[in-house]
């Protein structure tokens, strides 16, 4: 039980980094979704303008 802290640290780091990476991907996905919505709005307004 002497090195329990080291074991805890190793597993905590693994999960923290993996969660951090998943979070980074999720944020990227949200940013891309916002861009798609903006493009859709822009296309829709151009179509209505052309009519």
């Amino acid at each position: 039980m002497e090195y329990l802290g080291y074991l805890f640290a190793a597993y905590s780091v693994v999960w923290a980094v993996i969660f951090g990476y998943v979070l980074y991907m999720q944020r990227k996905q949200k940013r891309l979704q916002r861009q798609i919505e903006m493009l859709q709005k822009s296309v829709a307004s151009q179509i209505s303008h052309d009519k």
Binding site: Y3, Y6, A10, V17, Y21, M25, L32, I36, L39, S42
Partner: protein, 226 residues
């Protein structure tokens, strides 16, 4: 097509979750404590799994980089890029968990022995891969340069693997293929490797999808402004 893809993704998510729970249970509850190193030896199961899966990630980058250079199909590049990114994340974890284990086993955090040094070189190579792609002025050029780094950089993977058997290093040899590992330890390791492999597949698929989406949005923006 999308329905089928979502079904596969959900099945993989379920499988990954089940495997990860099983892996954690086996690491902390099932596997017996190793006699000489004690409880800290349990780092081994995640450390080795992460190393194996990062090798797999760089192998995928290597294969898909060749495919991209041959056919110039962007979908191959997305997979190569996403796989390298996940490989870097996993190698970073190998380089963090390794020294934590080394501190208790050897009394030092780091030593410049062959296995550790070549692993650091591997990490730096794929950091360079990501930087080359990030700083390229044109995406096509970035993909081309990245593919070259992805192919050349893979040379280090077999070197990292063989170091412990070719040179005398402080790092343990690949005992899995000889002896020194009991059946419960081997079973735990196999479950951990399976869990991280599923996680790798999920992250790479998601990353490749995002890269494809990013390129489509860029193209649309250029078309609209141009």
């Amino acid at each position: 097509m999308n329905g089928r893809r979502n079904l596969i993704k959900n099945m993989l998510l379920g499988l990954g979750l089940a495997l990860m729970i099983a892996a954690l249970y086996m690491v902390f509850m099932y596997v017996p404590t190793e006699k000489s190193m004690g409880i800290v030896q349990r780092i081994f199961y995640f450390h080795v799994s992460l190393a194996w899966v990062s090798f797999l990630a760089f192998l995928v980058t290597f294969v898909f980089s060749i495919c991209y250079l041959r056919k110039r199909l962007l979908k191959w590049d997305y997979i190569a890029h996403a796989s390298a990114e996940v490989g870097v994340v996993f190698t970073t974890l190998v380089l963090i968990t390794g020294p934590i284990w080394a501190k208790t086993a050897w009394g030092i955090w780091w030593t410049w022995d062959a296995r550790l040094t070549t692993s650091l070189v591997l990490w730096l190579t794929y950091i360079a891969y990501l930087l080359v792609r990030g700083y390229a002025t044109e995406p096509a050029r970035g993909a081309r340069f990245g593919a070259v780094v992805g192919i050349v950089g893979f040379i280090d993977v077999p070197i990292v693997f063989l170091t412990v058997n070719v040179w005398r290093t402080q790092h343990p040899t690949t005992i899995i293929f000889t002896d020194g590992i009991t059946a419960p330890m081997l079973m735990t390791l196999v479950v951990c490797i399976a869990a991280f492999t599923v996680l790798y597949v999920l992250l790479t698929a998601q990353g490749a999808g995002l890269k494809s989406l990013e390129t489509s949005i860029k193209r649309l923006k250029i078309r609209r402004t141009g």
